[in-house]
Symmetry: C2
Subunit: 484 residues, 2 copies
């Protein structure tokens, strides 16, 4: 009996041990898969935007420089404990873009200066109330100022530009008023703090501006151009896929495959916040590269809003495609050509606008394509007016009619985008495009109906490829129609 019990206990122990051992043996494997996952994620993050890696190294460099400055005793004795504020400044102030770093550094510097001065005054005033009255008066000061400043952070304008400054203002004011030092000590402390903040903020600003700078303005510029390009890709792809010539008895109106270019516009739908914060930071940046100080960043927000408007319409269009309804061939025949032209030419116009923004040249060639799509709208109207559908099944043509109608709205939206890009071109003094002298027949711009709406398939394919090649080239590549 005892032996049995012992054996059972031993078996149970062995079972427990085996289980534990199994868990322990599996642990390195699990750990490994986890590590591999994290490493893969890290590599992907770095590869998606290598500036993330340089940014991390830049922050580390700034921090190490300021730390060593503090560590060396000679300097340590000069600054006192306040030296630690230089480290703190670097950590909280160094942001990804130059604009954000400058905004935070300057906010921090000026807020410290202002709050320090006010704080010294407040303490002096409070000291007049005697030893017992002083903490009460100081308490009232801190309360009032903190409440007012915190409330001011709800003003949208202050929130957007000076949020961090107000925070530092409250912080410094309360620290100075309550520190309980005499005024001479206070002034010395304020001087020390300001100096360390200048050292910390200055290090950040210099490294941020001169070492692989990431300009918020340039990012905004590229973001807007790439958003318009995404819409263009989507429209061009849509025109080619959706209104294909019926060959195998399949009557068009059904996309062959769920192409990724048809999904690219999705990111445009929610880009508002990013655009606004980039425009905000860009306003803090000095002139850089092709952008002067006071570049019209607000105009980019206007273009971005119009592009988003267009993306909403494409989203609705997409809903209609996915409904997968067959359209009677005789009706498809009527609208097919003009719808395809509308879609593809609007796409080309948007692509020309995107290239114009990217290369900062006048968006002349967009007008040509826009004119073609406007002619296609007219053709569509003429065709619909002339069409006699005596035995037509109205229900069957509903999706196609809706698609055509939304496409017409998209053409209108593209016109608005084109107008605002032209405004940008004037505001930012984009370079004039020199017409190639070899072509004797200039396209008649802004002359309605003069451009042939019929689209040759081979030519269009050629143009698309050309444009895409240009987009992959250096930003100052030739304009697409110079090649056409």
């Amino acid at each position: 009996m005892e032996i049995n019990e012992l054996a059972a206990a031993g078996e149970a122990k062995a079972g427990l041990f085996t289980r534990w051992w199994g868990w322990l043996k599996a642990l390195p494997g699990k750990f490994n898969t986890k590590v591999v996952k994290v490493v893969k994620g890290t590599i992907k993050l770095g590869r998606d935007d290598p500036r993330r890696v340089t940014h991390s190294l830049k922050v580390a460099l700034a921090l190490t420089l300021v730390s060593l400055l503090y560590y060396w005793r000679a300097l340590f004795d000069g600054f006192g404990v306040a030296g630690i504020w230089a480290v703190l400044t670097v950590v909280v102030v160094f942001e990804f873009t130059v604009g954000a770093t400058l905004s935070k550094s300057l906010n921090r510097g000026f807020a410290t200066l202002l709050a320090g001065a006010l704080g010294v005054g407040a303490q002096h005033l409070a000291s007049l109330f005697g030893e017992k009255g002083e903490p009460i008066v100081l308490g009232i000061f801190v309360f009032l100022l903190a409440a007012a400043s915190t409330f001011s952070r709800f003003f949208p304008r202050i929130k957007a530009r000076y949020d961090y400054g107000v925070l530092i203002f409250i912080l410094t004011f309360s620290m100075v008023t309550i520190s309980g030092y005499r005024v001479e000590e206070l002034l010395e402390m304020a001087h020390e703090r300001l100096l360390t903040i200048i050292i910390g903020g200055g290090t950040c600003m210099i490294i941020s501006v001169f070492l692989c700078p990431v300009w918020a303005g340039e990012d905004l510029h590229k973001l807007i151009a790439s958003n318009i390009e995404k819409l263009a890709n989507c429209l061009e792809g849509f025109g080619g896929e959706y209104f294909q010539t019926p060959k195998d008895g399949n009557c068009g109106m059904v996309p062959k495959n769920e192409d990724s270019f048809l999904q690219g516009y999705k990111s445009v739908l929610n880009s508002k916040t990013t655009e606004e914060s980039l425009a905000n930071f860009a306003a803090w940046e000095p002139g850089h590269g092709r952008f002067k100080f006071r570049h019209p960043w607000k105009q980019y927000l206007k273009i971005g809003a119009l592009a988003r408007q267009c993306a909403y319409q494409i989203e609705t269009l997409n809903g209609h495609i996915n409904s997968n309804v067959q359209v009677p061939p005789e009706f498809l025949q009527i609208i097919q050509d003009s719808c395809r032209t509308m879609s593809i030419e609007t796409g080309k116009a948007l692509k020309a606008l995107a290239i114009a923004i990217k290369t900062m040249k006048e968006p002349k060639h967009a007008c040509e394509h826009l004119e073609k799509s406007k002619t296609a709208v007219k053709d569509l109207k003429t065709a619909l007016k002339a069409a006699s559908l005596e035995n037509a099944d109205i229900l069957a043509i509903v999706p196609a009619v809706a698609v055509a109608s939304i496409l017409v709205e998209i053409v209108k939206g593209a016109e608005k985008i084109s107008k605002s890009v032209h405004e940008l071109s004037e505001l930012a003094h984009f370079k004039e495009v020199v017409e190639p002298t070899v072509s004797p027949e200039k396209p008649q711009l802004l002359h309605r109906g003069s451009v042939n709406p019929v689209l040759l398939d081979g030519e269009s394919a050629h143009v698309i490829i050309t444009v895409e090649e240009i987009l992959n080239m250096a930003p100052k590549g030739p304009e697409p129609s110079e090649l056409v």
Copy 2:
């Protein structure tokens, strides 16, 4: 001559004086208008959301409490200079919502603990390398850790939840490693800092939770409900305005006035960022009011995304209304009734869903309205199939067809929203709705075609008014159909 010159000089002086005087006299006026503008803006900000005022007072209270704690010398002697960290913690940690404050406080506390421990270890390790090697080894440590931590902030998950923690981690680690104190001193310093952070963070957390708390979770809950309500208002208003019965020869399809309810949905288009940050903060909050800890906040994001999808379609619809095209009356007659029913009933369904979310009761009554609008879709299809338009001008009916087609898509979108609200109802254990026993004829839910699609105008108006009254009532008011 001399007299003349003097007189001229005097006149010139007088002229300058007059101008200066005028400018000086105008100054108070200008200043006054500016002040009046700022005061008006402030009052509006406070009236729009009175919680802003209470928040400002709460921050001021927390700061004053911690400041006085620091000011009283007895405590000052206890804490040493580290007491200033309590003030700093309050200023940077106190956020508008409870969730954000908790998230920042906890992040700050744990990051300080972890970085402090690591920092002590790193310093001990570095001290083994002798006096000359120490700063170099420490520099390498700071560089590596700062680079790795900064890069980790690019991971979306870390960015969303632990961004502030990583910042404080870098800060504390560099401060501890470079401080150059001996380990005993370091431990004492770390102990002091942690204590002051706990005092600062604790004050914030207690005031934030117990004094007029602003819960991120509740805000998210209300935001999603109000977004759905805005879509509902828009659809109901649209149905009433756009498909009006032609009386004065005006063939409908043109809105009488640019009503504000038709614009309310615009804010839904760009609510993604707000929703996501609220959901993020809500996850940090303990159970409060009707919401338990681990309330399914993610489901709200799902509903929000579907509502946004619906808003995109309404935006496209809006573009078509503004085109201002006249529709032939004979065609309008065919689609008018079913389109109006689709629009109004979908609006009512969405309103019922919004009320269900607000009151946290099962969204049973939405199904009824959804069934009605689905029946209207069928009716529309039947009507279009039966319609013979021998002499129809297809071009003229294009906008109306597009509107109808988009409305059908909106009905589909509303179905998706309804499904995801039902999921939320299950996940969050919404209360069951008890049917009123006085009504002998229960509406047959989920039985297609059994509900009369024809809408009596007087009745519908009555229902709208009732629903709006309920929306203005306390959140636990009766369900609309209990009153109908």
